[in-house]
Amino acid sequence: MTGHPERVRLQRRTVTILFITQILGGVGVAVGIAVGALLLEDLTGTSALAGLGQSSAVIGGALLAIPIVRVTGSHGRRYGLVLAYGAGVVGALLVATALYLRSAPLAFAGMFLLGGGTAANLQARYAAADLALPANRARQLSLVVWATTIGAVTGPSLAPLADAALREQLAGPRYAGPFLASAIGFALAAGILWSFLRPDPLLIARSENGSESAPKASVSGGLRVARDNPTARLGIIAVALGHLVMVAVMAMTPIHIKHGMHDPDQVTTIVGIVLSLHIAGMYALSPVAGILADKWGHRQVILMGIGLLLLACATAGTAGHNHTQLAAGLVLLGLGWSCTMVAGSALLTGAVDASQRPGVQGLSDLVMGVAGAFAGAASGFVVQYAGYPILALLAAIVVLPVTVLVLRRGPIHDRLNEEPT
């Protein structure tokens, strides 16, 4: 069964489809996010509420994991991903409508549902792992993470084009164009998945294990599994804390840069360069993290990720207004995130049976989203009252518990290992 050519072919096809839809979905997410804060500032008239649009999308993405898990558990990946992208389409159209009607509440509701696109882009990596063999699971998963790079890099530059096109061709309101582009990206991703992601990788993986009937999957079920399974728990914690540290330091880096400069145009340029390098660090080398996790082990790569995150906090935290050092810190931050994300996700996937995966994976994305939302909100206060170096120090302290968990081994292994037969 394992090396069956038919199964290998199906897995290759699955990863190819996910790779394509991940690019489309990634463009959809990045286009919307690029102008999200701007349009909310425009609608509400205050920058204080503009940041909440982003939080709304993050929380929406995290909470949407709950229904997505239900649907994935009962009907497979195809239904789950299409539901998530579908929510993204509705969200993007609501935001565009809100701009025509000049309605801020409608825009917030739209941003919340737009999080569905992010949720789908996150869950897609797990669909790539369903039929992957244990020997190359992390690499297959990392390929889908890597595909996000293309969307994340091209999306923001497509935003002004979409904006200009709608305003000039159809006399639409400012900022509505990018959201229509988001809606198109998500709709295309959903359409391709609906048409081609069959047979469903999760359903096939489950039938191989002899659990043909659909078990009821839920995030709370995932919580029960994680409670009894220390490996799955470690995977969830590694992903969430890596994300928390990354978001906390990244979110405040533009503010830190701005505090040391006077020319606003120069600030925008430097922020753009530093964040682009950071995003490259996050995604571009993710296949390397995947290959190393398959070769050396997931725990080893999580440890490497923690090392990189600590180094990133030290580098960025002591950079002051040396922008080269700050950029180096942010690249390291991206690389560390990539290692904990890829290795942690592969670890938790391998730690549970196919029938239990959707619940645990959904829980992981929910916890990760909440950790990111918390980090985004808390980092502002830390920088306000204690400064950027203290933020970096606190972020470094946060990753330490993961190290303890990675190094801790179950007693059973040692016993079995030593026992002479």
């Binding site: 490996t231 050396w296 997931h298 292994h413 037969t421």
Partner: protein
């Protein structure tokens, strides 16, 4: 197959650190969704080794593959 031979094979395949992590962390469909460590409690070592060979395929050196 003796347990010591089993672990020797595991180390040869995965290296010292990863061998113990594979045994502790990964559930294998061939072991009914259990980990190697869990299966070793009540399953013949040879059966467990064959499951590892099936799951990891080419990663297992041909000399010790079953």
């Amino acid at each position: 197959m003796r347990l010591t031979d089993f672990w020797e094979n595991m180390r040869e395949t995965f290296g010292e650190a990863y061998a113990s992590s594979v045994a502790e962390d990964q559930v294998l469909p061939q072991l009914g969704g259990r980990t190697v460590n869990q299966a070793l409690r009540d399953t013949d070592t040879k059966h467990v080794w064959i499951a590892v060979c099936h799951a990891y395929g080419d990663r297992v050196p041909a000399r010790i593959r079953r």
